[in-house]
Symmetry: C2
């Protein structure tokens, strides 16, 4: 379990209200940022202090691993210079009474501030402009919220029902679908196909079936048991062409679809299977992927030989996206 | 593989155009009907001749097992006396050129007509008013469509992309959702919850989580991997109360959700698992349910002891519905 500190920018209201954090994947100039990379390091159960206006007003429990998602619509023009695709980290927030001003406890927390990537300036106690999600030691977290009315138990339980991956994805995709439905530049038949493609149906499914013939994880060929899944997620596609492209799809059984969509498994271009260190092997076994778990450990946590042929070169671009932006490494 | 004959009623256009057959489950007086029961006996790959206006104009390939579904909206007032819930059988239809008039070949097919439940009168050659879906021998099917321009290969391939359970369910549920959204008698907050419940989310999921704690087939407890499934399907519920009732839900992994929703598995009130004879054991194994297959055969194709406690009495009514109307026996 880890502890985090987030320096909100202009979108604190949306993030706290919407029960998440969202960041771009890179700096505006394309450079990787330690603070943005931290979004993918946070794990369910981690705790986060939320810092805005020089005050910590909320503490949150990470509800799910981060996943790739377009900039939330409710951000509006705020952060218009940010890239449209970023990391969304579901966090269940609860308010602190009274709020904490870190400057007031600067002397006690100073020695726990990390030397690199500190969220605040160790001398002035003011927020570090460049920081977003920063790792902090447990002792620092404890000092910050000592004496605060805040129930860890409530935080743990309160979030279990409200927030999960499926809910967040559903809301997010609903808003994208609304935008597509209202887009007057897209032809009606294309629009219909793109909306059907969200659930792996229609033209998209037919296109995938002409490229793939079976589930690459289980070998199931019975089409009634197979889902047409996007490799580059529907929500992250940039065009109708990408959303309907058969090369951007796999036929997967429902469990395999969830693991792939959630980024717990991915594929190399040669067909080898990547197993994320973040998925619990016990869960994988219960889902029936015993062989995958065994092979993963037999090959010393390396990619597992695929049960089908390698991918076509036309699929490689989508797979590269999946490995870099969907797979939870 | 079996052969069938359907005597369409007033809804031939809708059924052929919509690529399905739909029948009530019982006669108007509540009696079971052999012709309606046949809907559940048809299997993917079976062939059907479509008879209307004393002529066979189409032949179809059954695309999926029948499933419980409300009367298609497009039937309008036709068959208004029919019950609202019936069997929907996806069939991929293709036209025959030229159409066949069974009366013209009555002498050759006469001897193959079943003595009970015949679709036509063996003397007059006219359609049997009471018949809907009737079983016919292969020889009779062959005589009927000898010399007809009709490619079995086309029939086989043509249907594979267009029609599957997920597509049919999606369209059906879309139309129900539209009716709910337009219903001025339902409060807006309830409406929202009922629509979220379609995907196992919101209030419904929270309600289910307060009743069930793990997948009863796999033992998975990680909520990120669990779907809140309706026992009595969302599309078949009669009220918002049924659609939101936690007692009408199970937490299932995605594969288990598909098998349960599709009626390939069901449960006894004491928690024992029923395995449908219609699901291929090889598919079950590939989905990771090896133990279920083994136990099923070990207990001489009887119910498999459940891995969790029995159900609460408040769940029994929904389970009885699932066994009688969803389970593919």
């Amino acid at each position: 379990m880890r502890y985090w500190w987030v320096n909100h920018k202009q979108t604190v209201k949306q993030e706290i209200g919407g029960q998440y954090l969202w960041s771009p994947k890179t700096e505006t100039n394309g450079a990787r940022s330690e603070f943005y990379n931290n979004m993918r390091r946070a794990s369910p159960g981690d705790l986060v202090v939320s810092y805005a206006d020089q005050t910590i007003k909320h503490v949150g429990r990470v509800a799910e691993f981060a996943f790739t998602a377009p900039k939330p619509e409710e951000f509006g023009d705020t952060g218009a210079y940010w890239s449209n695709e970023g990391w969304l980290l579901p966090v269940f927030w609860t308010p602190l009474f009274p709020p904490v001003r870190p400057k007031a406890v600067l002397e006690s927390i100073k020695r726990f501030l990390p030397s690199r990537y500190s969220p605040i300036n160790p001398t002035t106690g003011g927020g570090n402009q460049k920081a977003y999600l920063a790792s902090i030691p447990e002792q620092m977290f404890d000092i910050l919220i000592t004496n605060i009315t805040f129930s860890r138990e409530m935080l743990r339980r309160g979030g279990s029902n409200s927030l999960n991956y499926q809910v967040v994805i559903e809301l997010l995709e609903d808003s994208i679908q609304r935008r597509i439905a209202e887009d007057i530049q897209i032809e009606d038949t294309i629009k219909k196909s793109v909306i059907l493609a969200r659930r792996g149906q229609g033209v998209f499914r037919a296109n995938v079936e002409s490229v793939e013939s079976e589930c690459r994880l289980t070998g199931v060929t019975n089409r009634s048991l197979l889902i047409a899944s996007h490799i580059k997620p529907w929500r992250s596609c940039q065009s109708a062409q990408e959303r309907l492209d058969g090369e951007n799809g796999l036929l997967l059984t429902p469990d395999a679809d969830l693991l792939f969509d959630r980024g717990f498994i991915s594929f190399q271009d040669n067909g080898e299977v990547l197993v994320s260190p973040r998925i619990d092997p016990t869960d994988l076994r219960r889902l029936g992927f015993d062989r995958l778990v065994e092979d993963h450990f037999r090959f010393a946590m390396q990619p597992v030989p695929g049960r089908t042929r390698g991918f076509r070169s036309t699929q490689h671009g989508y797979l590269a996206y999946h490995r870099s932006d969907v797979w939870v490494s």
